[in-house]
């Protein structure tokens, strides 16, 4: 099922949560809505589900305008951030709930078979008669997914699906969700504030800031070609140096960088801590080393440029760090964006 969002707007009281967002999601695609809190990502997800209604704009499921269809008739599977399992029902009853209340009558045996299948799919055979309070967080997560899948949804929507879990459980579940998605091929949209999760799991990442889409693309596209400073910063650690652009060239400490398409005037140069080569002498931005932070797989060096701007970069663990040693920074894969005011 294809989903299309057409210029949707949502305002809560006086706070505008979503500013005219348009988005196309292909059939069978797994898309992440990535952004900090308050970026409007959950509101968008809830509007797709029908749990909120947009003030303006339209939502299409395939060719059908679904904007005004009530949530209970929309045919979406929704996995809530804290799972929202019915506490008074067993795992089996939770999964069967959607089938029991469905207009299409199913026999008890049919429902039981389907519940057993789903429990097998989410690898929870044998937990059918437990109550949600009696299983672990990761297990609850999978029950919530099984329950959402039980109604054969056209679209699967997940709100911060791994937010409440421990780091290693989270990583396992991510891989497992990817596998399930490949098996079932349901169009899936999920919300996360964790860029590693979005990059690990999604076919395509939609990055949001303050209710607007700031970039859409495959994990490779958004990582390799961030379109603006927000994306650059949000996806990982980034250094930022003041620069001046004249005629497509950005100058930092008299070192020139390519800045094609950036308007003349104040700008900023961004680069990742891993994209720095330190030399005792040679071409580059002159700097002085200040301090070292040891990490299991590298050393993070803190330095200051000749004009007083701070820079962090990563080196091999063998790096011979000496405080106050002078040298130059060669910057690989620099990105120049017009300065934000």
């Amino acid at each position: 099922m294809k989903i299309r969002l057409d210029k949707i707007v949502k305002t809560f009281d006086t706070f505008r949560a979503v500013h005219g967002v348009s988005l196309d999601i292909g059939s069978g695609e797994l898309v992440a809505l990535l952004g900090p809190s308050g970026s409007g990502k959950t509101t968008i997800l809830r509007m797709v589900a029908g749990l909120e209604y947009p003030d303006e704009g339209a939502i299409f499921f395939g060719e059908e305008n679904a904007t005004d269809i009530e949530v209970r008739h929309r045919g979406v599977g929704f996995v809530f951030q804290h799972y929202a399992l019915f506490p008074h029902m067993t795992i089996g009853e939770n999964i069967a709930f959607g089938m029991k209340v469905s207009k299409t009558r199913r026999s008890a045996a049919e429902i039981a078979d389907r519940v057993a299948d789903l429990l097998r799919l989410v690898q929870l055979d044998g937990l059918k008669d437990r109550f949600p309070a009696q299983i672990s967080g990761g297990q609850r997560q999978r029950v919530a997914l099984a329950r959402a899948l039980a109604v054969d949804p056209k679209v699967l929507l997940l709100d911060e699906p791994f937010g409440a879990l421990d780091a290693n459980v989270r990583r396992d579940l991510r891989r497992w969700l990817r596998k399930i998605h490949e098996e079932l091929g349901i169009t899936t949209l999920f919300v996360t504030h964790d860029q590693a999760e979005a990059l690990d799991l999604a076919d395509r990442v939609v990055i949001l800031d303050k209710g607007r889409i700031v970039q859409t693309g495959t994990p490779e596209e958004v990582c390799r070609a961030p379109e603006n400073a927000f994306v650059m910063n949000f996806l990982g650690d980034a250094n930022r140096l003041k620069a001046t652009v004249t005629a497509g060239r950005a100058s930092v400490n008299e070192v020139l960088f390519d800045a094609t398409g950036v308007p003349d005037g104040a700008a900023e140069l961004f680069f990742r801590p891993a994209d720095v080569i330190w030399r005792e002498d040679g071409a580059g931005i002159p700097a002085v080393l200040l301090r070292v932070i040891d990490r299991p797989d590298s050393k993070r060096i803190l330095a200051v440029t000749a004009d007083g701007q701070h820079v962090e970069f990563d080196t091999a663990p063998e790096f011979p760090f000496r405080p106050q040693s002078r040298g130059t920074l060669e910057i690989l894969r620099p990105k120049v964006f017009a300065a934000a005011f």
């Binding site: 029908g50 949530v71 209970r72 008739h73 929309r74 809530f80 399992l85 209340v101 309070a133 039980a150």
Partner: protein, 273 residues
């Protein structure tokens, strides 16, 4: 027992135990002692006399009817106060406690006057051929009034705390409003409803002040058990009074036990395994 860090245990516990012993346990013990000193045969004769049994029937049936009314009205009231915003909501919320704040004798004369055949409601009702004052319906009304806040006040906080995501989840799974209320909300409200029901019922069983004005107090017809215990006392028939009061005490303890069992059962799913 862990090492005591804070001071004041002997004093505070001493006060508490002495007070509870003198004020609560001693009189109830004396009552049970008095009733027990009757001997089984005499005791049984008193508590199974026709008039006593008739009073149990009146009390139980009226309390059940009053509790049923309060279940429906109390649930509706709690729902409206918690879920909807409308002008006067806070005022209604505050008014719910009036039956607890208003002395029962005052409630008794007010309800009697309202439902007397020349009263505001009694007039209209008698035109329809319904007589309230001095009938069991009057008892039901007095009981319902005095125990009204229980269901509201037990259900209200639980309703406020319900996780809205459960309702949303049920909707995404295609359930209708009725199904969600029945299958998702009601089971979670059940322990609170049971608590409210039993408090309301217990209060109705023991209510006296509000009822005696409106009931008519005819033996076998509109005489509640509490009144019978009182009448026996006025007749200086102390053993009979003690026996009947002990039955009421027993009923109260039974209600406490039943409430606990029902609540524990209704909450069994919250027990971690």
């Amino acid at each position: 027992m862990a090492r005591r860090i804070l001071p004041g245990l002997p004093l505070s516990l001493g006060i508490t135990l002495v007070y509870v012993a003198v004020i609560v346990v001693l009189p109830l013990g004396a009552l049970i002692f008095k009733a027990a000193s009757l001997g089984p045969a005499d005791y049984w004769t008193i508590v199974s006399s026709d008039r006593a049994v008739a009073s149990y029937r009146v009390t139980l049936l009226c309390a059940a009817a009053a509790t049923a009314f309060n279940l429906v009205f109390g649930m509706a009231l709690a729902w409206v106060i918690v879920r909807y915003r409308f002008p006067g909501r806070r005022f209604v919320d505050a008014l719910v406690d009036l039956p607890f704040a208003l002395p029962t004798a005052v409630a008794g004369i007010a309800l009697t006057t309202l439902f007397a055949s020349n009263g505001w409601f009694g007039g209209a009702l008698s035109a329809l051929g319904i007589k309230v004052a001095y009938t069991p319906i009057g008892i039901i009304i007095a009981m319902a009034f005095t125990s009204l806040p229980f269901i509201v006040r037990t259900v209200q906080p639980v309703l406020e705390e319900l996780d809205g995501a459960l309702e949303e989840a049920a909707q995404t799974l295609g359930a209708s409003d009725g199904e969600i209320f029945r299958r998702v909300l009601l089971p979670q409200l059940l322990p609170a409803i049971l608590a409210g029901l039993s408090l309301s019922f217990a209060r109705s069983l023991g209510e006296f002040g509000a009822i005696i004005f409106i009931a008519g107090n005819q033996p076998y017809e509109t005489e509640i058990t509490a009144l019978l215990a009182f009448i026996r006392l006025e007749e200086y028939d102390y053993p009979a009074s003690a026996a009947i009061a002990s039955i009421m005490l027993l009923a109260a303890f039974l209600m406490l036990a039943v409430t606990n069992i029902l609540q524990t059962r209704a909450l069994r799913y919250t027990v971690k395994g």
